[in-house]
Symmetry: C2
Subunit: 430 residues, 2 copies
C-alpha cells in the first residue's frame, strides 16, 4: 500500500495556516485514540470510522509510525471481498508517561505505556514533612531516574506530580500543603531543574488526579458527574462535572477537608478548628480506635498493614474499633451530603483508607446521607469503593500525561530511522 | 439583491440527511446570535464574520426573515468601495419569551423580546403555601395570559418557571420545595395543561435561573466560574462552572440551604435541625433583628419596604439590627467558604435580600471567608452584590427560553405573508 510521505516535523504543516496544522494534529489524535480504544484495524476501516478520506488516513498513519506511535502489522483479510489491508496498531513500547505522588509518608512513581499498562511501579516510605521540600524533590528525581532506566526503550512524554494540597495551575507552585508543612513550593520548576528538559512536568492536586484515574479507568469509568473523596492523613476531594475535572479559577477546586463540619474543639493541621479532617482523617480514626502506644498508631509502620490490623479487630467485634469506624462513617456521610447537595453526582467514590475500610464505613455513611441529603433517596447517589487503592493518584497523573499525546501526537518527536518497513516509492506530495 | 428561496418549513431540509438539517439550524442560530450581539450588518459582512459563503448567508437571512426574526432595513454604504448592501437586523417584535417565578409570598411574570428588552412585568403578592399548588398554577396561568395579551404582537417561544426547590429536569416535577410546602408537584404538566400547547414550558430551580441571568446579563456577565447565592425565605445556590450551569445528574445541583452549618437547636422548614438556612435565611435575620410584633416581621407587608426599614435602622445605628446583620454576614461567610473551597470561583454573587442589605453583610462575610477559605486571600474570590434584584430568576427564565431560539431559529414557525419586501424573481434551487 502506498503511503504518501507525512510531514516530517512537529509543526505538521510549517508554512501552512495555524488552523490547518491544528486540524492535522487533531486528526492524528483521532486515529491514535481509535487504535487505543478500539484495537488494531486496517487503514480502510479507520477511514470509514473517522470519516476521513483514505489518502489522509494513510498519511496520518505514516506520520504516527514515523513518531513511533503505531506499527503496521499483520495482514487483515476483511471478509471475502476487496484487497487485504495491513492492520495498524498502537506501538505500546514507543512512549511512556510518568505519574508521581508525594504524600506525608511516602513517595511513589508509576510508569504507564501508551495502552495504559504499568511498566514500572515503586513506592518508598519517606517522612516528607521532616525531610523538607528540596530533599524530597531530590528523592523524587532519583525515583524517576530509576523508572526511566527501567523503561529506557520508551520516550517519556510527560510527568505529573500529585500533591496533597493546593496547586496553582498556572505555574505548578504548591501554595499550601499543611500536612507536608509546605507553603509556596515551586514543585514544577524544582523538578524540571532536576530531571532536565524534554519531559514536560505538570503538578496537580492528588485527589483531582485520583478522580481523573477513576473516570478514565476504574469500574465507574465515564460516569459524567462523580465526586471522589480520599482519606489519608488529610482528606481530599476531586470532582468530575459533565466528564471534565472541576479545576476552578486558579486550580484550587475540590478542597473539602477544611469545611467546618468537625469538632470545634479539635485543632486541625491547618491551624483552624473544627475542620472535617479532624473527624474523618486517618488521625481521627486512629485516635478513636486505639491508645497512643498501640502499634496501629505507629506511623513508622506500613499503613496497609496497620489498616489490615484495624479491619481484623473490627471483624473480631472489638467494640472500640467498631465505634471508631461508625463515628468516621457517620461524619463522612454528613460531609458527603454537602457535596451531593451541591453537585448531584451519580457516584461518590471513596479512595485511600476510606476504600480499604469501606465495608465498615458505608453503612453509617449511608445512614447519615439519608438524613442530610436534601433530595429524596440520597438524590440517587451511589457510594462506591475505589478499586485503584493507593495508586489512584499516580495512575491519574500518568493518564493526564498520556492524554497530552492523544490530543497532539506531534508532541512525540520523529524517531531516528530504525530497520524500516519496506515501502513502495513515495509519490511527491506538496 | 437576489436571495435564494429558503426552505420553507421547520425541517429545514426535509429529505436531506439529519446532520445537514442540524448544520443549517446551527448556521441560522449563528447568524441570529451575531445580529443580536453585534448589531445590524450587511449580508456581505455576515458572510465575512461567519466564514459562510454569501449565497448561504442570503438564504439563511431570507429564512430568518420568513420566520419573522430579522428584517432587511436601511441601505448600508460600507466605506467607499463596493456595492451598498441592505442592513439586516433583529426584528425585536417578532418573538418573546416568558419567565415566571413562584415563591413563598409572590408570583411574578416577565416577558422579554428577542434583544432582551422587557415587554411586560408583573408581580403579585400571594400566599403560595396557603393557596396550594393547583390554585397557584391557576394564578400563574392568569398572569401569563395577561402578559401574552399585553404582548400579543409577539410569538411566545417558551416559558420557564422558577421554583425555590428541587426540580427534576427530565419531567419538570418539583420533587421538594419545603418553603412552599410542595412535594412531587408536576408543574410542567400542570402549567402546560393550563396555557395550552405551542409555548414549550420548562421548570428550573430559581437560584439556577438567577445564576444564568447573572452570567448572561449582569455586570459579572461571562464570568466562567461563578457561585450565586440568594437569600429569601430559603437560601438558594446556583453554580456556573466553565460558563455552564452545573445541573447535576437529575437537576438537583446547587442545593446549599440545608447544609449542617446552622444552629443545631433550630428546626428548619425542611424538618432537619441546624440547616444553614436557619442562620442566614430571611426568617433568621428578622427573628434576630426584631420582636414578633414588629412591623418588619409582618409577612403580609411588602418585603422591599420591610428591608428598607431594616436598612434605615442599621443606618441609624440601632444596635440590635446591626448585630443581627453582622451575625447573618458571618454565617454567610462560613457557608460561602465551603462553596469557594469546593468550586474556586472568581465571583460569589449575592442576590435576593443578601443584595438589598449587602452593604451591611459584606464586611462580616469577608472576615469569615478570610478565616475559613483554605487558599490564601479567599482564593481570590470577590463578593459582588447582584444588581438584578428580585427579578433575576424571571430574567434567567426568559433568557433560557430565548436561548432555545438562538440555538435553533427553526423552532419559530414561518409567518403568514405580511406586506412582503419586494424581491427579484427567485432562481430555482434544488
Amino acid at each position: 500500500m502506498t503511503a504518501p510521505r507525512p510531514l516530517s516535523d512537529g509543526a505538521a504543516g510549517r508554512g501552512a495556516p495555524a488552523d490547518q496544522a491544528a486540524v492535522r494534529r487533531g486528526n492524528l489524535g483521532r486515529v491514535l485514540r481509535l487504535l487505543r480504544d478500539e484495537g488494531p484495524r486496517s487503514r480502510a476501516r479507520i477511514a470509514e470510522e473517522t470519516g476521513l478520506n483514505k489518502a489522509t488516513v494513510s498519511s496520518l498513519v505514516a506520520e504516527l509510525a514515523d513518531r513511533g506511535l503505531v506499527t503496521a502489522g499483520d495482514v487483515h483479510r476483511g471478509g471475502s471481498v476487496g484487497r487485504p489491508g495491513l492492520l495498524v496498531q498502537l506501538d505500546g513500547r514507543a512512549v511512556c508517561a510518568i505519574g508521581v505522588e508525594l504524600n506525608v509518608d511516602f513517595v511513589a512513581v508509576l510508569v504507564l505505556d501508551l495502552p495504559g499498562d504499568v511498566l514500572f511501579e515503586q513506592r518508598v516510605a519517606l517522612d516528607v514533612p521532616a525531610l523538607g521540600a528540596e530533599a524530597t524533590l531530590d528523592e523524587v528525581a532519583r525515583l524517576v531516574e530509576q523508572g526511566r532506566a527501567a523503561t529506557s526503550h520508551a520516550v517519556p512524554v510527560g510527568l505529573t506530580v500529585a500533591v496533597p494540597g493546593l496547586v496553582r495551575s498556572v505555574d505548578g507552585v504548591v501554595t499550601l500543603a499543611p500536612n507536608l508543612g509546605w507553603h509556596d513550593v515551586p514543585v514544577l520548576a524544582g523538578l524540571t531543574a532536576r530531571i532536565g528538559p524534554g519531559c514536560p512536568v505538570r503538578v496537580e492536586n492528588d485527589a483531582n488526579l485520583s478522580a481523573i484515574a477513576e473516570w478514565a479507568t476504574g469500574p465507574e469509568a465515564r460516569t459524567p458527574d462523580l465526586v471522589y473523596l480520599t482519606g489519608e492523613v488529610g482528606v481530599g476531594g476531586g470532582v468530575i462535572v459533565d466528564g471534565r475535572l472541576l479545576r476552578g479559577t486558579a486550580g484550587f477546586a475540590g478542597e473539602v477537608g477544611h469545611n467546618p463540619l468537625g469538632d470545634p474543639a479539635v485543632v486541625c493541621g491547618c491551624g483552624r478548628r473544627g475542620c472535617w479532617e479532624t473527624v474523618v482523617g486517618l488521625g481521627a480514626l486512629l485516635r478513636a480506635a486505639a491508645d497512643p502506644g498501640d502499634p496501629v498508631r505507629d506511623s513508622s509502620r506500613d499503613l496497609e498493614t496497620r489498616l489490615a490490623e484495624i479491619a481484623a479487630r473490627a471483624d473480631a467485634g472489638d467494640r472500640r474499633t467498631l465505634d471508631a469506624l461508625a463515628g468516621v462513617g457517620a461524619a463522612l456521610g454528613t460531609g458527603a451530603a454537602v457535596l451531593i447537595n451541591f453537585v448531584d453526582p451519580q457516584v461518590v467514590l471513596l479512595g485511600g483508607y476510606f476504600a480499604v475500610l469501606g465495608r465498615f464505613l458505608v453503612e453509617p455513611m449511608t445512614a447519615a446521607l439519608r438524613r442530610r441529603v436534601f433530595a429524596a433517596d440520597r438524590a440517587g447517589a451511589r457510594v462506591v469503593l475505589s478499586t485503584l487503592g493507593f495508586t489512584a493518584a499516580v495512575r491519574g497523573g500518568a493518564h493526564v500525561a498520556l492524554e497530552s499525546v492523544l490530543d497532539d501526537p506531534a508532541l512525540v518527536p520523529v524517531r531516528e530511522p530504525r530497520t524500516p518497513e519496506p515501502r513502495t516509492p513515495e509519490p511527491s506530495h506538496p
